[in-house]
Amino acid sequence: MLIPHPLLGLRDAQEFTYLGDARLIERPTSGSEADLAEYVYLRDNPAGVHRELWFHEQGDRSWLVVTRNTLTHEILGAELARDVSLARKGETA
């Protein structure tokens, strides 16, 4: 499986470590215990398109948000998690 790294081009998936659902970026800031419990414990488990965090551990050590189809393993895109996070902060600011 090849992952289209936004900076380095196609890189082999074995260079990456998988973390899981990209919604981990969206840590709640409301202070509500229920929101935090949901953030920590509850995940969607979609059969189909899923956004996930991958770490380029054997490469440039950047975190990526990879969009992958969990049924076909097709990789639909990859972005730097940093950019995703900054864009999100820009929206909420």
Partner: protein, 184 residues
């Protein structure tokens, strides 16, 4: 003060060198290394810094991109000097850490042009050779050891690996080069 004798990473007083067919592997202990990271408030450096997947020389240094805002810097022939201070003078305000003694550098040269280097590389690392022309540098595992691989020229590679695994990395590289000869 005891009388100390410096040793190379592979344990001998002189650097190891071996030739298999067209390829020559050379341990290169005299190159200094430091890491460079630009901080949010670092003034824009006067040095020209390479972009992702590239290396370039500037002001007697070889700069290797290692990640967003981060580089490794080679100071050829300066391993026995204070490389962090030298680099800090050239890039004021950046985060700089001396790395020389944590790493080992092997240079691989070919006496028969690019072909032996490319045959070597396609066995050693999972690197797309169509995107690895001279001027390219990337981090890639070689036999499970994290390394930085630099394409210095068509017929020349530099490979930085962990000094604590110097012998293991040499064994991997030496074996690949030897098998290229024995299998033709």
């Amino acid at each position: 003060m005891p009388d100390l004798s410096p040793l190379c990473a592979l344990g001998a007083a002189t650097p190891r060198r071996v030739t298999h067919g067209a390829l020559t592997l050379t341990e290169t202990p005299d190159c200094g290394l430091a890491s460079l990271a630009l901080r949010r408030d670092t003034p824009p450096p006067a040095l020209d810094l390479p972009g992702p997947g590239r290396w370039q020389t500037a002001d007697g240094l070889t700069l290797i991109w290692t990640g967003p805002g981060q580089w490794l810097v080679e100071l050829p022939g300066a391993a026995e000097t204070d490389v962090a201070t030298t680099l800090a003078g050239k890039v004021p305000g950046a985060s700089i850490t001396e790395q020389t003694d944590g790493w080992v550098l092997y240079e691989i040269t070919s006496s028969a042009g690019a072909a032996p280097i490319e045959r070597f590389l396609e066995r050693a690392a999972n690197i797309d050779l169509t995107r690895f022309a001279p001027g390219s540098a990337t981090r890639s595992p070689i036999e499970h050891l994290g390394t930085y691989v630099l394409r210095r020229a068509e017929d020349r590679l530099g490979i930085w690996g962990m000094r604590s695994a110097a012998e293991s990395l040499w064994h991997a590289l030496d074996g690949i080069a030897a098998r290229l000869v024995s299998r033709g």
